[in-house]
Amino acid sequence: MKRSSTGEIKRRGQLASVVHRFMKNRLSVCGLVILLALAIFSCSADLFFDYNAQAIAQNAQARFIAPFSEGHIFGTDQYGRDMFIRIVYGGRISLVVGFFTAGFALVFGTIIGAAAGYFGGRVDNLLMRFMDVFLAIPAMLLAICIVAALGGGLVNLLLANGIAQVPRYARIVRASVMGLKNSEFVEAARACGSGHTRIIFSHIIPNALGSLIVQVTLTMASAILSVASLSFLGLGIAPPTPEWGSMLSTGKEFMRQAPHLIIVPGLAIMLSVLSFNLIGDGLRDALDPRLKN
């Protein structure tokens, strides 16, 4: 919203200055590049590959081909399927799980946390003690229980991970809301006749968004890890669907003769989690106005 009269004086919008500060952090930009590459490959996979013919169908002639040979850069697995294609399709699941878990936790955690923080008193006590119960159960154990009760599959996995993450968001949001609800602009909004919902959603939550965005990236990382772990244990996505955790699980039997069967999915998990964490770090610094320079 630059005015022509003041010329090109340094007057960036808030978003632009956050982006600028983020871009100064090289590690975070690395993370963003890795993530973008992963996202682009996963999204456009269907343009280049045939899912059923190349990622699922077995090919007995091409088993255990080593990486970087015979046109398979990541080699092939015990059924002769190209590892690169399977990694790319596995990335789809990981990304979907990451985004939806974080989205689920964000929406419900924010609503619960905002209600608890804003109304305080009995509402706060009731909601937060309920959240404490969830926090007391280890997230992995909770996810295992939910998957065991409801069965595997993508939707149940999302649900299991999401529910386990909700209390974290509720706590973060509640803390910021409690600080913000006494600020003068909230009082001013009340004096203007704004209702509770409007005050919460258009005045308080936008101010608390900074810490939430950081938490979202971290949740995505942990959700990817968690789904891989569940699949590794045989509770998540079942073979032959390509999923990094289950690829690792089936590959471990051939660890000695074909180490690339576990190295490749292991690296994929590591890199994606790392990239989310790096982005989270960079965002936290970029969104913190005290570190402005």
Binding site: G13, Q14, A191, G193, S194, S202, H203, P206
Partner: protein
Amino acid sequence: MGVDMNQNAEKLLDIKDLSITYITDDATIYAVNGLNMELYRGETLGLVGETGAGKTTTALAIMRLLPDRIGKITSGSIRFDDVDVTAASEAEMRTLRGERISMIFQDPMTCLNPVLTIGDQIAEVLESHGITSKEELSKRVDNILTLVGLPPERKNEYPHQFSGGMKQRVDIAIALACEPQLLLADEPTTALDVTIQAQVLALMKELRQKFNTSMLLITHDLGVVAEVCDRVAIMYAGEIIEYGTVWEIFSGTEHHPYTKGLFGSIPSMSEGQRRLRPIDGLMPDPAVQLQGCPFASRCPQCSDRCTAEKPASHRAAGGNIIKCHLFEGEDAGGGNDAGTAG
């Protein structure tokens, strides 16, 4: 500034015997004790007093925005036009706030939301009071911004891109967006420097006349009061101890000892160098309910009666109402109806 200029005017705000307490775990604070106040349509009333006298509490009570669970109206009534504020439902109050009564806050730096554009914040008031069409909203926002002297093109900017005086203009724009009948201004110029102060006061005066808005101006700056107000109420320890027109208060000869003390604390430009005469002592502890006059402990003319018995309101010869035993004999007719000032 005639004495009886408002005798025929319509009463907009009528506060009777209002008492407010703050109840915390540690203590009960008696913030406002038996306050009576009237405000007529189009009139400006200055509410003057030192920090902690209960001025802001009174304003919040008028909007019924006292802190939940802690602040309580223990007795008395507040009537705004045809609404009984103490008895109205929350939904009724919400339609009142912003549309018929609005408030300007002390610190323009903190009372705007840092993450919303100022245009959105002005639009919000209009939106919560029934204007929904996008074009209408943006037209009204442009209008009100022009009215307070800001270029409408800047409505898409954020509060941090404005200076303090401009932010106060935005506040005034928000407060006046719905053309309210009553404006509560809680020290609107305290956070501004003197030149900007004069601009903002002039702006408020102009807009008030335009919309025929009444104003309750809370301040401890007697200069501002003399500039803007029609009537003045001097508040001390939760009570109004003197009440009259600006003329009566600033030019009259008979005053409450506290008012005398207040004026004695202002440096004079005309007289030669003299030391200021501040009022000794502090305001009484608001956690204690007093038997007698709240000013007794600091009053140079205090007698035994002052510590034992609460003074009633008396009309002084000049026409102003004074709550003090010293003026008991002097009732200039009709003033002694237990503090119903005016």
